[in-house]
């Protein structure tokens, strides 16, 4: 007897999840969750990604999220897209990476192109520019809140809290106030922080 067709999903088998951990059951679920979080992400997806992946689905712990985000940020490419790739790949290999990235980008791409095509017609309305301004302020608040939430993950960091606050604070000053290029900060301060961590862990 031929093997019965599966339920039409993209996925054959889910890999075993680490004991006591929650994991996506299929690449389709991965796609749907990333699609859901992308569609809630006005002015940036990171805040929603933290809520969906850590607080709602529990697929990543706060520490794992920070670790994946650290890697996503030092690599070239959009941080949240790298985060989707890393998360998807962790659960289902390259098929998971494709599913997560597609979930993140497909529908939002269609929406933004439709908006771009329509924008020329209502760009001059004050209500439209006002709405953009209000959404921009909320987007800023969401990113700040995400940073404050994730800062709790530093409690488990081998550097210890005082050093973490020093490195985090210096990064903030270098990027936000001095407006130094990111590459300098990551290569300079990052190298010092990594060396310190290496020395402490040894």
């Amino acid at each position: 007897m031929p093997t019965p067709p599966d339920d039409g999903g993209l996925e054959p088998v889910a890999p075993p999840a680490p004991a006591g951990r929650r994991a996506p059951r299929s690449t389709r679920e991965l796609y749907l969750v990333f699609n859901r979080l992308a569609l809630q992400g006005f002015g940036g997806v990171l805040a929603v990604a933290q809520i969906e992946l850590v607080e709602r689905t529990g697929w990543l712990t706060r520490e794992e999220f920070v670790e994946a985000l650290s890697l996503a940020q030092v690599l070239p490419g959009p941080n949240v897209c790298n985060l989707a790739l890393i998360t998807g790949d962790r659960f289902f290999g390259w098929r998971g990476a494709v599913a997560a990235l597609a979930g993140m980008m497909l529908v939002p791409l269609l929406i933004v192109l439709a908006l771009a095509a329509a924008y020329v017609h209502w760009a001059h309305l004050p209500a439209v520019s006002g709405a953009l301004r209000g959404m921009g302020a909320v987007a800023a608040g969401l990113v700040i809140a995400t940073a404050l939430k994730l800062a709790r993950a530093l409690g488990a960091n081998p550097l210890g809290l005082p050093l973490c606050m020093a490195f985090g604070g210096l990064t903030f000053v270098a990027i936000a106030l001095a407006r130094l290029p990111l590459v300098w900060v990551v290569c300079g301060l990052g190298a010092v922080a990594i060396t310190t961590a290496w020395w402490r862990l040894r």
């Binding site: 690599l75 890393i86 209000g134 302020a137 081998p158 985090g168 990064t171 922080a193």
Partner: protein, 183 residues
């Protein structure tokens, strides 16, 4: 602009558009937005395919729309050369970096328990938090000096820290407050 044609650029121009964004992809540490100044130089000053105002509007539009901010690259491509232009810029900016990210993530996952990778993660974690705060700070630029907008920023921070509700509700509040001219 011609709206019917699939693209207003010749094949060679389209290829050079794609190639330029492929190059930028590997330079886009910190996100595609960090290479925006170079995109502007290429598209507006050198090639004169779009205007400065079109460039700025493309970025603002993609930021307001749901989804990753990198989609502003697709809007730029769309404004340069329609659907094919959008494909050229978006695939160009994504392909090299996604390939590298996947490879690096696997390399890191295999060595997660080694001292080097543990030091790498632990050392970069505080920088990641600092970077996030810096991003939030930069995004508040338009709100400086406008107490209503700053109040909206603070309200968003407080609400988000105290609840796990979808941020879409706060975005809706911001949108309405802006549309009615309250902020």
């Amino acid at each position: 602009m011609v709206e019917v044609a699939l693209t207003s650029l010749g094949t060679l121009d389209l290829l050079s558009l794609f190639a330029h964004f492929t190059l930028l992809s590997l330079l886009s540490v910190g996100g595609a937005i960090t290479t925006a100044p170079d995109m502007q130089r290429y598209l507006v000053s050198d090639q004169r395919w779009i205007t400065d105002a079109q460039f700025t509007a493309s970025v603002a539009l993609a930021q307001a729309a749901p989804g990753p901010n990198v989609l502003f690259v697709a809007v730029l491509g769309w404004n340069v050369a329609g659907p094919l232009g959008a494909m050229a810029t978006l695939v160009g900016i994504m392909l090299p970096s996604t390939t590298l990210a996947l490879w690096a993530a696997r390399w890191e996952a295999k060595r997660r328990d080694t001292l080097a990778v543990r030091a790498f993660s632990a050392g970069l974690a505080p920088l990641t938090i600092g970077l996030l705060l810096a991003t939030g700070w930069v995004l508040t630029d338009p709100a400086r000096g406008h107490w209503e907008l700053l109040a909206l920023v603070v309200l968003t921070v407080v609400v988000t820290l105290r609840s796990t509700a979808s941020p879409i509700w706060m975005v809706a509040v911001g949108m309405l407050a802006g549309a009615f001219g309250w902020v």
